[in-house]
Amino acid sequence: MVLSASLVRYRVENARFKVAHFTDSLSNTYSVRVEIFFATQDGLLAFSGSLLGFGTNEWYFKLSHGLSYGDIYILSEIPNPNDIPLMHNGDYPPWDALWSVVSCPLSNEELCNLVSAECSSLARLRIYIHNCFALLLRHLPSRLRSCVDAKYYIQHTVNLHGIMNHIREFFYVDRNNCAVWGFLIPSRLTYEFLPEYLLADGSSYVKPVPLEQLLLFAESDLGLNFCIANKFLPVFF
């Protein structure tokens, strides 16, 4: 069994989240997922399945990534957070297996101990989630550039300290027992990461979706539902 590929799971004990041991039963456990939404002026960006390379849908309204044991290892090992770790042959790793670029030398029990120690407190988990968010964020424009044309220079080094105050974070529990840490990138920053000329060239990979169309999917996609509530609905004072 390759533990790196397994999702980190939590069990609720006395109303507290505790990291479950990898040999425990999966029932009543919760995995953790990072979801990233990119706002436009009047809606959200959608990404093609061919760009993201996961799932069976034609388009996705979010980047979604379940936190695995391997992710925790690789995020603790990356020396420079602005490097994009690639496979040995120079290819990008699959979205759902970013950990596969580094072979983990730890035994399952050692990796489990590392994850238990690192993910048991909110402060530590927050660091890993934010690093995972940054890694996903760096992958996206780089992959898009490789799909369309390499002539564009893409600013894919992300200084999180400068932008985190502008990114809305929200939390929810999905219907399939995922505790989700959501990020909503405001339109101004969306166009910084993915300039409009790149979006125009990559229209078969990325497209803006206006709100009235998003509403059609809000019932089935809880993340989208809560994101719309966060982004578009009025705040009372």
Partner: protein, 212 residues
């Protein structure tokens, strides 16, 4: 039953205050009103959003705590719930409705709006399912009238053609009530859950707090 609703495009982005500002007929000094419609006529409308307040019954022990225990009950359809939905009415209290008011907010230029949920009246037919309210909430003419008097700060989620805000009604509890209350996690493990209660729980940040 007349309920408050707004055209869907008036409620998004920054257009809600300007939508209200353009309707002089809906402004009376510092109070704003919305158009009200017959509920059955707009229930399946795709052009109007109805406002809904979801009231949860929070178990309050008098101690400062981050626990989110709530009274659990079953609805007439047999499903478990932790709260009840009320359509918003800005003109008069009525059974099944949340009597709310929209007030001008901060004294800055532009229209800043505060939404107050003043009172909700529970339909009589639900009384047998809410026995924990007995002696804890005032009853008027056979209806439980819950005085809320709290601000609704934001819309939490969308549900069909409804925009749902949440508010809690505190009920003092003792240990003898412990079998009737449930935390968010306990609720999520129940087999038959009411859809709105489920959405309400899922939209909360409790998993994040559970790591503290």
């Amino acid at each position: 039953m007349k309920v408050a609703a707004v055209p869907w495009n008036a409620f998004f982005g920054y257009s809600f205050p300007s939508h209200l500002a353009q309707r002089n007929d809906l402004i009376e000094r510092d109070t704003f009103y919305l158009d009200h419609y017959e509920h059955d006529e707009i229930e399946h409308s795709s052009s109007l959003f109805q406002l809904l307040i979801f009231v949860t019954f929070d178990a309050y022990s008098g101690k400062l705590t981050i626990r989110d225990d709530r009274y659990l009950f079953t609805l007439p359809n047999g499903k478990y719930a932790i709260g009840l939905p009320f359509h918003v009415n800005l003109f008069e209290p009525a059974p099944g409705m949340a009597y709310c008011s929209l007030k001008r907010g901060l004294p800055f230029p532009g229209v800043y709006i505060s939404c107050y949920c003043n009172k909700v009246i529970i339909p009589k037919e639900l009384n047998p399912y809410l026995d924990f309210l007995l002696y804890q909430a005032p009853m008027v003419n056979g209806y439980y009238e819950l005085t809320i008097n709290k601000k609704i700060n934001f819309i939490s989620f969308l549900w069909n053609s409804h925009l749902v805000g949440k508010v809690g009604y505190r009920i003092p509890y003792s240990d003898t009530d412990s079998h009737r209350i449930a935390s968010s996690w306990q609720f999520l493990e129940l087999p038959e859950r009411d859809e709105l209660s489920d959405l309400c729980i899922r939209s909360e940040e409790s998993w994040y707090l559970a790591l503290v």
